[in-house]
């Protein structure tokens, strides 16, 4: 009796599951997932260590009147994504997530930075500088793409999407040496500068793809551009602490202005080669793809640095109003992408 009941339940479940199973199969047939290994390097705008001294220093050390730069290197990271092609259409929904994290550091001697000066001829304390950088960025895009085949070897993919970006940049500078403003040698002058951008906005893009050789339809070349305008909240925080030789700590300043809001322009260009093929698996065919591409991306005036800067008293000196300066943030480098599932787009 129990066996009969189990049989009936199984049959009933199978009856109910069939539409679900079919829906799942259909979903998987039209759904593509990809994972991408990115190997990118950021630009180093704003990663200056040290000031410029505008006099010729006596017995100057090499770095005394020069700024140097932190130079981030290429770094492996990843992108993952999913797109779903609506049945019997050329339209796809897509969502992808890009992650990037990079740190870099640099040490140098005899730099003029954060009020610490290597005194020519004195060298009471050798000036030693250490600076470190942390970049952490995340990008999420969701939207629609529409494929327009103009003939079987030339296609245009048009996209419209919404994008969320988060950019963090933290820079820490340590330096020891003479500090004329304090009138005494210091053990360490330390400054931390944080720029954080959270942004959301629309974008559009176009990608051109062609199959150059009739005899090898699996290979494609592509080049595309996407541009976004992001409404961004800009946060900034900077603090400077000086530690004297006797251990006394002086908070020189802690600057934490109100958040500001801006519109950021972003350009994204990529190009590369593509190989796509169907692989028979358990009696059915699974579409796969391998892409080797290059990506260039740049946010114009991304980091606002608090939207302010030191302004001398106007009664004594000669400067235009200074509302600070912004810096770009860019990345570029190759990527290798593997994709599985979905329907062939070409």
């Amino acid at each position: 009796m129990k066996n009969l009941f189990a049989l009936l339940v199984s049959l009933l479940a199978a009856q109910a599951a069939t539409p679900l199973r079919a829906a799942a199969d259909q979903f998987l047939e039209y759904t593509e997932v990809f994972v991408r290994g990115t190997y990118t390097k950021p630009s180093n705008n704003g990663l200056s260590i040290g000031d410029v001294q505008i006099i010729i220093p006596a017995a100057a050390l090499d770095r005394f009147n020069q700024a140097v730069f932190l130079k981030p290197k290429f770094k492996w990271d990843y992108t993952v994504g999913l797109n779903y092609r609506f049945p019997d259409t050329r339209t796809r929904f897509f969502v992808d997530y890009d992650h990037f994290r990079e740190d870099a550091s640099r040490t140098d001697n005899s730099i003029l930075d954060i009020g610490v000066v290597p005194p020519p001829g004195l060298n009471l304390i050798p000036v030693f500088e250490y600076a470190s950088l942390l970049y952490a960025t995340q990008e999420i895009r969701a939207g629609f793409k529409r494929l327009i085949p103009f003939h079987h070897r030339f296609l245009v993919d048009l996209g419209a999407f919404l994008e969320y970006d988060k950019l963090n940049r933290t820079m820490r500078e340590y330096i020891n040496g003479e500090h004329p403003a304090e009138g005494a040698p210091v053990e360490t002058s330390f400054r931390e500068t944080d720029n954080i951008v959270k942004a959301f906005g629309p974008g559009v893009g176009v990608l051109i793809a062609g199959i150059p050789f009739k005899s090898c339809k699996y290979f494609g070349l592509f080049g595309g551009v996407a541009t976004s305008l992001l409404y961004a909240k800009n946060r900034f925080d900077e603090s400077n602490v000086v530690t004297l030789l006797n251990g006394t700590q002086i908070l020189e300043y802690d600057y934490n202005p109100e958040n500001s809001y801006s519109i950021l322009g972003k350009f994204d260009v990529n190009f590369g080669i593509d190989y796509r093929r169907s692989i028979p698996v358990s009696g059915s065919k699974v579409n796969t793809g391998l892409t080797l591409g290059m990506r260039y991306v740049n946010y114009i005036n991304a980091f606002k640095n608090g939207n302010t800067y030191f302004n001398p008293f106007p009664s004594t000196d000669d400067f235009a109003a200074n509302t600070g300066h912004a810096e770009d943030f860019g990345r570029f480098g190759p990527y290798l992408q593997l994709s599985v599932g979905g329907q062939k787009t070409y």
Partner: protein
């Protein structure tokens, strides 16, 4: 021996027959063009003089409390290129070179610059500034055109671009009596340059507005490029014939965004020469181009000592400037296939 002779003769015969055909075929699908460009650059960063934020005392000269700008004028230059239309396709390969050179000078009295300024009652200053700019732009890529009916076309392009841009700015200010009544002479040279590679894509829309006159068309297009560049900077100043400072920082690396838009009118025709047809065209267009935050100015700036007395301020790592150009061009084309 016979085989060798036959092979040699056969090869020679094939070459004799094939060479002109290949050459003719190549020339049939190859177009060359040359354009005279007449553009003016933007003058971001070409400031001459400081701004003084106090109301000048009576008798002060007008320019005493404001900066002036060097305003580059239009300059004739050129653009040349070649394209090859792959037979039986809508695809062309192209190579394009654009050259731009300009220099401009401005002179004014009573300018406050380089630490030399006119006293409220005393000798004035004589300032001059000169800018020299040079730009080389190479593009190599593919264009594919699509036609939507007989009167509307779209060209899609993907390319690799190399840009090299140099800007030298010279300032000279004499006179004034700022320091102990000594007449001053100050000179400063500021050099910004960058060069870099990057990919770009673009499109151009072409329409034939009047069906009875298919030779005339209107077009508009846009291109965008991202360049990975090496940024160089050098600045030095002489004050009363002594080197006051010389600043030559390390090179920095950036990604630069570039936008390029052009539009205009086009006339194309087929010329009959020696029983052959030669395609030709002439275009009158206007080009707008801008590279965002192109000149980095050394990525640094004056930073006062951060003391509690001086108050808080953000670290200043310098101000970049855009570089843009705008102006008309006249292009002549010959050869190739009509798109």
């Amino acid at each position: 021996m016979k085989k060798l002779l036959a092979l040699t003769l056969g090869t020679a015969f094939t070459a004799t027959v094939a060479t002109p055909v290949l050459a003719e075929n190549f020339l049939d699908y190859t177009g060359v063009y040359a354009a005279a460009t007449y553009t003016t650059p933007s003058n971001n960063g070409l400031s001459m003089g400081d701004m003084i934020t106090q109301v000048p005392a009576a008798g002060a000269i007008d320019t005493f409390n404001r900066a002036l700008f060097v305003q580059p004028g239009f300059s004739w230059d050129y653009n040349v290129g070649i394209n090859y239309h792959f037979p039986h396709t809508h695809t062309r390969a192209f190579l394009d070179y654009d050259n731009f050179q300009d220099n401009k000078e401005r002179q004014a009295n009573g300018v406050r610059d380089l630490g030399a300024f006119p006293a409220a009652a005393g000798p004035t200053t004589n300032a001059s500034a000169r800018v020299e700019q040079h730009m080389d732009e190479w593009r190599l890529g593919l264009t594919h055109y699509l036609h939507f009916g007989s009167r509307f076309f779209v060209d899609f392009s993907a390319y690799v671009e190399y840009d090299r841009v140099l800007q030298a700015f010279y300032e000279h200010n004499t006179g004034g009596a700022p320091i102990g009544g000594v007449t001053t002479t100050a000179f400063r040279e500021t050099d910004n340059s960058f060069d870099g590679w990057g990919p770009g894509v673009g499109f151009r829309i072409t329409g034939i507005p009047y069906a009875p006159c298919p030779n005339f068309s209107l077009f508009a297009g846009a291109m965008t490029t991202l360049l990975y560049t090496k940024d160089k900077f050098h600045e030095y100043e002489y004050f009363n014939a002594e080197l006051f400072y010389a600043y030559s920082p390390e090179n920095s690396r950036s990604i630069l965004g570039k936008l390029d838009i052009d539009f205009g009118i086009d006339y194309r025709n087929v010329l009959h020469m020696n029983n052959t047809k030669l395609r030709s065209g002439v275009t009158l267009g206007v080009r707008y181009m801008n590279i965002f935050n192109a000149f980095k100015n050394g990525n640094t700036y004056f930073n006062p000592f951060p003391t509690a007395a001086a108050g808080g301020f953000a670290a200043n790592t310098g101000y970049p400037n855009d570089f843009g150009r705008v102006g008309p061009y006249l292009q002549f084309r010959i050869g190739g296939m009509h798109a």
